[in-house]
């Protein structure tokens, strides 16, 4: 039945530090459907990049570890695959675009070669055919005079052009899933729009599903079909673009949206920041990670971790305010006050 291509299920990722394990991703679950764009939004340290990299298994094994959960691609668990099988998927089925185009290309290798390398790894092509593909890709991502540019080195390109090269590289083998980790963060605003348009355009042509990691809600509004909001290593709210933007349920999502400047508003109006600072993952225990900064905190929030409350449309929220057991019951009034019961 499913047109789900990638499932992340209760993923836990921990960093091994000198003082012990530090869990950066604490139970992330989402589905990615063919051809859709899922945006994962969150502030720095919320675990979005770690989630992305652990899908590709690009985290250094010496310092990181998936402690729980599963990642399933096309019905097969990526975590149970051999290293060889995972490498075979990288670049051909699942690709990645990185944040900083200035550093994500090898400075001493011609860009054409860098694209060809991946193509030749995954497809039985002659050098000439691979070069042809690289050329097509450069043309596809809108690099002018692509024939001459194949033999240029990365430093001969501007930042925006380099990001186009990185995208060309990622899409060269027609992957089913593209993970874009803050693809426009390092770029000028005008270039940002071009790159986003390019990605949307290419997605239409190739029907690639995109996981877009970003902290920029403007980018999300522009690109996403669905949105997952991450906080403290968890997805706190997940829904369609409209659900998240017009009917946010989690106080954190609401806070994010309110903190965005709006053109329609009076400019003398100060921005509304979310008070406090992101949680320290090392000291995060039971309870809602956002409790310390939440304007609606209840006693229960500090003691028990909220579960996902899912609406009929699939809009899910992990917040005690939305939990039917709290919302519906009068008896829980005391519980809300004191947080001393077992839910």
């Amino acid at each position: 039945m499913s047109n789900t291509i990638l499932t992340v299920d209760n993923l836990h990722v921990a960093f091994k530090t000198q003082t012990g394990k530090l869990t950066a991703v604490r139970g992330v679950s989402f589905d990615l459907k063919k051809g859709e764009t899922l945006a994962i939004v969150g502030e720095s340290g919320s675990g979005k990049s770690v989630t992305a990299k652990s899908i590709m298994q690009l985290l250094p094994t010496a310092t990181t570890e998936v402690t729980k959960g599963d990642i399933v691609y096309n019905g097969e668990s990526l975590l149970k695959m051999t290293k060889r099988q995972v490498t075979n998927l990288r670049g051909s089925e699942i690709s990645m675009v990185f944040q900083d185009p200035m550093t994500s290309l090898n400075p001493t290798m011609k860009v054409g070669k860098q694209i060809m390398e991946g193509v030749q790894r995954h497809e039985q092509l002659t050098k000439a055919q691979a070069r042809e593909r690289a050329l097509d890709m450069l043309k596809l991502v809108g690099i002018p005079q692509a024939e001459n540019r194949l033999d240029n080195y990365p430093h001969q390109f501007s930042g925006g052009m380099r990001q186009r090269v990185v995208i060309a590289l990622a899409l060269a083998c027609n992957p089913k899933v593209l993970i874009a980790d803050e693809p426009t963060t390092a770029l000028d605003v005008t270039i940002q729009a071009q790159i986003l348009d390019l990605m949307k355009d290419l997605q239409k042509k190739t029907d690639t599903a995109i996981i877009l990691i970003t902290h920029d809600l403007g980018v999300v509004a522009n690109m996403a079909d669905r949105v997952a909001v991450m906080y403290g290593g968890k997805i706190v709210e997940q829904g369609t673009l409209d659900e998240i933007f017009y009917n946010p349920q989690h106080p954190y999502t609401l806070g994010l949206l309110q903190s965005m400047p709006k053109l329609s508003e009076d400019r003398s109006q100060p921005l509304l920041p979310i008070a406090g600072s992101p949680p320290n993952l090392a000291t995060l225990g039971e309870g809602c990670a956002f409790a310390a900064r939440c304007p609606h905190t209840m006693a229960v929030c500090h003691t028990y971790t909220p579960r996902d409350t899912v609406s009929e449309t699939g809009h899910s929220v992990a917040c005690w305010l939305q939990d039917p057991r709290i919302a519906a019951s009068e008896e829980t009034a005391e519980l809300v006050e004191t947080g001393n019961s077992s839910l």
């Binding site: 590709m56 690009l58 010496a62 490498t87 075979n88 998927l89 990288r90 670049g91 051909s92 690709s95 990645m96 990185f98 900083d100 550093t103 994500s104 290309l105 090898n106 400075p107 001493t108 290798m109 390398e117 991946g118 790894r121 995954h122 080195y153 430093h155 001969q156 990185v166 590289l169 990622a170």
Partner: protein, 309 residues
């Protein structure tokens, strides 16, 4: 490019000129003169000798004459070896030094690269700690200690190789091995830290994300980029090791340039001291220059054409 080259050559000549001048006057400060009566010469004999080699002139005049000859490529005659030109003395002695040095360089570079690469790939493993420890030992223990150990164990006890003799290829091995320890240690440490830096770069993640096999990533992306700076280091190292090292040549009785150099300082053979210093400096300056040129071929980000990058 042409403009850059001319500029560089100009600076090289200026550097050499400064070295020559400084050496010339510093040498005059050494106590004694080349002919301080070792063989009980009479006053008049001394005067004749001094006049023959121009030592009766004021130092300033001697300097101008020396520079004049040098510009014509004439390094003069030895003061101690009657009738021998400095040029011929250097060319006679450079052979053994260069051979031992080159051999040491090849051994050291190969072992050093292997050790460094392996310890970078197995970062923080026992293997890594072991080779780092070896490298630190190799750098901090002077080569004559290894020389003595090699002589005792390989030469005296096992009798595999000659202890201190200059006869045939077998006698080049021990001095080369003793010299190579420092090279090994330097190269190993350098390539290790370069590789660790490159492995942490974003483009290595890109290479992995392309699905390249780990050995492709290591060879084509990590080692290729880590080797570039090693070239800059190897050039000057090669010069210093191939122009002869006093202690090793002395210990193994190698008739090399290093031994000659020390000898000439001891007997104040002015022209030979100057000649060898100039030879050494010129070679060094030249190699640094050549390395810079090679660098521009290895690293596409560097060009001397003055084009915008």
């Amino acid at each position: 490019m042409k403009r850059y080259l001319l500029q560089r050559i100009g600076f090289m000549l200026i550097t050499l000129f400064i070295i020559v001048t400084a050496t010339f006057f510093l040498m005059q400060l050494l106590p004694g003169t080349p002919f301080t009566n070792p063989e009980k010469l009479t006053e008049s004999q001394l005067a004749i000798l001094n006049a023959k080699y121009g030592l009766d002139q004021p130092v300033a005049i001697q300097y101008i004459q020396y520079i004049g000859n040098l510009v014509q490529g004439d390094l003069g005659y030895s003061f101690q070896h009657e009738g021998r030109t400095v040029t011929s003395m250097i060319s006679d002695r450079i052979g053994p030094s260069a051979f031992i040095g080159l051999q040491a360089l090849v051994i050291g570079a190969i072992i050093g690269l292997v050790l460094g690469i392996v310890s970078a790939l197995r970062h923080n493993s026992i293997l890594d700690y072991g080779s780092v420890t070896l490298a630190v030992l190799g750098m901090s223990i002077p080569s004559f200690v290894f020389a003595a150990l090699l002589q005792y164990y390989v030469g005296v006890k096992l009798e595999w190789l000659p202890v201190a003799l200059w006869e045939g290829y077998s006698s080049t091995l021990l001095p080369s091995i003793a010299l190579s320890v420092t090279v090994t240690a330097t190269v190993a440490r350098f390539i290790r830290s370069e590789m660790l830096e490159v492995i942490g770069q974003d483009y290595i993640i890109t290479a992995r994300a392309k699905g390249l096999k780990e050995n492709q990533v290591i060879v084509k992306h990590v080692i290729r980029n880590a080797l570039i700076p090693v070239v800059t280091m190897l050039g000057p190292l090669a010069v210093s090791i191939m122009t002869g090292t006093l202690v090793i040549e002395k210990i193994f009785a190698v008739p090399g340039l290093g031994e000659q150099f020390t000898l000439s300082i001891l007997v104040l053979d002015y022209s030979v001291i100057m000649g060898i210093t100039i030879f050494y400096s010129a070679l060094f300056i030249l190699v640094v220059f050549v390395v810079d040129i090679i660098y521009s071929f290895l690293d596409p980000r560097i060009n001397y054409k003055g084009e915008s990058a």
